[in-house]
């Protein structure tokens, strides 16, 4: 059966090209993989290979022709001994592609966001839940208590980072956790942020719930490709199959007299990445409530802490179940109307 050979698209941006040279002549036998012609694209000169065997029956577009649209028949391939048609057949062996070209299915109006997206952005203020009695604890203790509570609650949660286990934490956030949970779940890492962050993201893709502690968020920049490209984007690019329940946490922003490399704030960087949630707690209650929510969240969450606040005391509910929702503003006090 005669088959049309079509002008191929040979780059993501090519819509037309030139036929630089025919390597085969009419009447030549052709095997799969033989170079038929050379095509000039917008990027380079490319060889067009035969995808079926046969005889080059007729050349429809002579060499030297410019501006040939993609999918224009350029030659006809026939079986040996078969009569050669004069013109390209109306139907090729594959179905008509023209209506499938993306340029011909324009988006007439900007897509509208599904209702649930809008609704989460416009949460009506609800009354604050009253968690009852509080006690004064430091932000450091609040973060520790949050991790301890979630490690107790869910065996899939584990903590990795530099000096988190035997050293008891560079800032003592993870003090005592190794003794309680063992080295299977509180794991020291070598100073290789890119590697161990990628490892934690891989584990999270299988459903485990890692907490990755960066000694400071400044060092997360070594691993930022995995935070953005691997953790934040995989849910979308897998069509919703593969979520990444992981927490990236550590001290962020200005500390005291540590220089520009150790003082950077990543708030706006990470907040600009679709697929990441970002929280930056201030008080002990916010630190405990939001870190617990971050660990339970099915999405990657960046928790930006502040070193200067680690030693500050704030009241924090003593209720064992205390947790705060991510994405809901707290009404601290009413202003004048």
């Amino acid at each position: 059966m005669a088959t049309d050979i079509l002008m191929p698209a040979l780059s993501p941006t090519m819509t037309e090209g030139a036929l630089a040279r025919w390597v085969k002549a009419e009447g030549d036998a052709v095997s799969i993989g033989d170079v038929l012609a050379e095509i000039e694209t917008d990027k380079a000169t490319m060889e067009v290979e035969a995808v079926e065997s046969g005889v080059l029956g007729r050349i429809l577009v002579p060499e030297g022709t410019q501006d040939i649209a993609v999918n224009t028949p350029i030659a006809i391939l026939v079986a040996e001994g078969e009569a050669v048609p004069d013109a390209a057949s109306a139907s090729t062996t594959t179905s008509e592609p023209k209506s499938e070209l993306p340029t011909q299915t324009p988006v007439e109006q900007p897509p509208s966001a599904p209702a649930h997206v809008a609704s989460t952005l416009l949460n009506a203020p609800e009354p604050e839940k009253d968690w009852g009695p509080t006690t004064e604890i430091t932000v450091r203790e609040a973060l520790h208590d949050a991790m301890q509570a979630e490690l107790r609650r869910d065996p899939d949660v584990f903590l990795i980072g530099e000096e988190v286990a035997e050293y008891q934490g560079a800032y003592k956030i993870s003090q005592g956790l190794l003794a309680e949970f063992g080295d299977k779940r509180v794991i020291d890492m070598p100073i290789t942020e890119h590697g161990f962050t990628g490892m934690a993201v891989g584990a999270a893709l299988t459903g485990l719930k890692p907490i990755v502690e960066f000694m400071t968020m400044n060092f997360s920049m070594q691993a930022i490709d995995h935070i953005i490209n691997s953790a934040a984007k995989t849910l979308y690019m897998s069509g919703g199959q593969m979520g990444c329940p992981i927490v990236f946490r550590g001290p962020n922003g200005a500390a005291a007299r540590v220089g520009a490399q150790h003082s950077q704030c990543y708030g706006s960087w990470y907040a600009h990445v679709p697929g990441l949630k970002v929280v930056a707690p201030w008080s002990s209650a916010d630190a405990k409530g939001l870190l617990r929510a971050a660990i339970r969240d099915p999405n990657p969450v960046v928790v930006l802490e502040n070193e200067i606040l680690y030693g500050r005391k704030f009241p924090c509910p003593v209720d064992e179940d205390f947790i705060l929702p991510i994405g809901k503003a707290r009404l601290s006090g009413k202003g004048a109307m």
Binding site: L10, F158, G195, H226, G239
Partner: protein, 336 residues
Amino acid sequence: MTAGQKNVARVGGNGPSLTREQFIDAFHEMLLIRRFEEKAGQLYGMGLIGGFCHLYIGQEAVVVGIQMTLKDGDKLITSYRDHGQMLAAGMTPRGVMAELTGRATGYSRGKGGSMHMFSREKNFYGGHGIVGAQVALGIGLAFANKYRGTDEVSVAYFGDGAVNQGQVYESFNLAALHKLPCLFVIENNLYGMGTSVERASASHELWRNGEPWGIPGRRVDGMDVAAVHEAAAEAVAHCRAGKGPYLLEMMTYRYRGHSMSDPAKYRKREEVDEVRKTRDPIEHVRRILMDAGVSEDDLRKIEDDIKATVNDSAEFAQTSPEPDPAELYTDVLLEA
């Protein structure tokens, strides 16, 4: 390269060969990948596949030989040259072709494309477009196997172009330090895009790159599915027994350019033709089967079945709908 050559001889010489049925299966699997990729190339040429597209043609024996040594639950991850891995893992040609053409019926519902496809069901963790990222993610899959106390193994495929990424060495260290059940497979097709291994790597014996961390390595003829199978069986057994990672360097070759828009001027056409003529992994198995008395008719039946499967996948892809534009806003975050 004397040590490397010695290893090739060991692999080719002493390994147990495959049974006739295994060779038939391997022939089927490799030919499916070959024909599928040829069809993908055609659809790309017709503008039905957009964006980037990296074909696996020539390298089929690597994934097919390795897959034959794995069991359910073992996890896979690879680079952007991923169509062969997906078919070998048992993902359907329909779903893969539909994703290549950006359709709602594709594995990522049209939102991943050629380089980003996943299957939770088949334990295929992608399809990654960042060179080397899949190696660190791959040890994470192995970490999860160990954390859960299973004897499952994870296979992380990467190319010769990825071997000198810093995170690959970080991953070697972590995998060896924690004895993670991770099989590292370097698919050495001699070129990282347009740069030959000799011009990119001071180490030419890539199978030895894990030595500083005590990771055993072997160089294997990646064009010989029986040699791949034999080496992979040993490596997988090592990982499964809890002895830590293993590194295989598969000497292979891609017939097509790096991607569809690569004119491949960095190598001679004769080099490609020579490999096709003398080392083609599928023709190699075809000869073994014919010597074993399998008839041409039997082989033609396999070829016809595959042609029908591939055509069906292309038809399915082209008749499937594109995703609704509102899908741009879905799968960004899960409901907490």
